[in-house]
């Protein structure tokens, strides 16, 4: 009886430790803090996300570039396209700009300055948290943004880009190994 209880207590302790460890891992993985580094994993896909009710399901890289550069600023129904960007120089932003806009961080910064001086408006709002981005996109059908693919939860819809889903090995929006 004593041995059985000791064994149970040890087993329970070990299980509890594993559970605690798992809980901690899950908690850390879902923390609301900055998670830009999440996209810095080599080759990890970046999903382009919209509200599930947004009728758009697929987009070409050219269209996506036009949207993100604010050269195209209306959805087909006439509603404004609202972009939520990552903070400049965050790994997700740098990887996305390189893959979609074909621009370095310096060129992107210059692009938005030039556009402002030409009177074409201000750059999109930037935030530094996938949680925040997902939360905003999940609340508004007019928003478009992007997050590391594994951060795209069920509250948002990941677009098919160039005919490929983020899980596809050939999906085009990934960090380059520069």
């Amino acid at each position: 009886m004593t041995h059985a209880m000791t064994h149970w207590a040890r087993l329970s302790s070990a299980r509890s430790a594993r559970w605690t460890s798992l809980a901690l891992t899950l908690a850390l993985a879902t923390l609301a803090g900055p998670r830009g580094a999440a996209a810095s994993g080599e080759g990890e896909a970046i999903a382009v996300i919209v509200h599930p009710d947004n009728p758009l399901t697929r987009v070409s890289l050219t269209e996506l570039r036009a949207i993100l550069l604010r050269q195209k600023d209306r959805w087909p129904n006439g509603a404004p396209i609202r972009i939520l960007n990552w903070e400049a120089n965050s790994p997700t932003r740098v990887a996305f700009d390189q893959a979609v806009l074909r621009m370095s961080p310096e060129r992107v910064a210059a692009y938005w300055v030039d556009r402002r001086i030409r009177g074409l408006g201000t750059p999109p709002r930037s935030v530094s948290s996938a949680q925040l981005i997902e939360g905003v996109v999940a609340r508004n059908t007019e928003f478009i943004s992007y997050v590391p693919a594994r951060e795209a939860g069920p509250r948002v819809k990941a677009l098919i880009v160039g005919g490929l889903r983020p899980g596809d090995p050939l999906y085009p929006i990934r960090p380059t190994s520069e």
Binding site: A9, S16, K72, V113, R116
Partner: protein, 494 residues
Amino acid sequence: MRTAARLAGLWLALAGLPAARAQAPAGPPASAPPASSAVKGAEAGTLEQLEREVRALRERQRADDRRRDESEQRLALAEETAASLSDQLEAQRTFAIYGFFDVSFQKWWVPENVLAGDLLDQEPSFIFGNLNLYFDFKPLQDWRMLAEVRFLLNPVGDTRAYEVARLGERYRQVDVTTNDAGSFGESFDYGSIEIERAWLSWGRLEWLQLTVGLLLTPYGIWNIDHGSPTRILATAPPVYVLQLFPERQLGLELHGSTFVHDVRLEYALTLSNGRGDASNLKDPDWNKALGGRVVAGSTGDWTWQAGLSWYWGDYSEIKRVFVPPRDIVKETTVRYREAAVGADFSLEVGPFGLQTEVLANWRKYDDDHRPPWVPRGSESFIPADQDVLAQAFPGQFRPDLGSWAAIAILSYELPLRHLRLRPFVSATWLDIDDNISFDNLIDLTYGLNWRVSGAVVVKVAQEWVHWPNKRGEPILLFGSEDVHRFSTQIAVAF
């Protein structure tokens, strides 16, 4: 919860063990064997170990609870922030102030034996260029208002200490010295403000939007790039100084954009009072000016843009004459009709950049309202009766004018990591068929741009200007001597 339940069960089990053991001697069963000291020692050791494990588990549970609480709080905060941000962005009522600033240092080298030598100061000097502020307001969804003002050190007219106006212009000196209300005996000179543009735009459709107000004329590259941080050259090349298109107009613009496959098409149609400061106040004639622009372009590995622009309008100067006994007659003093066309092309491929622009303007005066001849290359808008140089050459009138100009700027970004150095060279050709100040102009500029960041640009340039004299006649303003200029500029967007 499961951990807590397990802990509770374990604790109850442990708590029950010594109690049971303590009760055992009170009622020993007849068949129970006597407990040995070795067994008692082993039980005590096991008990202590279990108690330690329980304490450790309790500690872990507390830490786990703390972390879970923190995590939940942060998640809740993130959700709350997302909701708040979403509401803010959805409201779309935004007001932003931004702008740009530049300061330059210049040195001219001009031969003394030409008239221009007296106009272009050869002393090296710092130049206060632009301090422009933008007020960008979105009062409602689909509406946007933009005002841009430029703050100048120049007072209204010219400074008292430095009485240089453009050739032929009459000085309009104004004493702008005023007392500083905040301190006794101290005074300052106030500068003036120029409204660069101010308009209100509405559009729910991407392909059709309407803008009304004071607009920068949509033509070419230079006029659209507009600000020193965006432009490659530190100083305006002669192509733009001539204003073959008016720089800005007061009126309305219908514009929009669409995509044809991967090519973006933009178009604009303008209706305005026309060229000139007077037209920016109130149109002095019945004829409105029309203009337009069509642009095609693409952004990507090859970023290119090709544009065509045109402008057609009348220019008038009027004065009011009192006719006794009680009549006032509006009399036209100058009037011409003009047409301008322009084509531009820009290309960026990797580190290479190319900007080209060709502009042409034809101007035909009404014979009844042809102004006196003025030895000036560019059109200025001095009322004829105030034009001192025109009065110095009586009996001669301005000819009809046909001018064209072209500029090409080639640049290359050096392959330096995180150091955006871009050497450039530009070439300008100008042909003004006015037979007055000069016939042709060639301007070659080479220099280096350093885009320190997106917002900060440093420019250094050396310019050489040459006037080929195709008629072989002496040219009043510049003769046939070359002019050189060194300029450096720092421009900041904020």
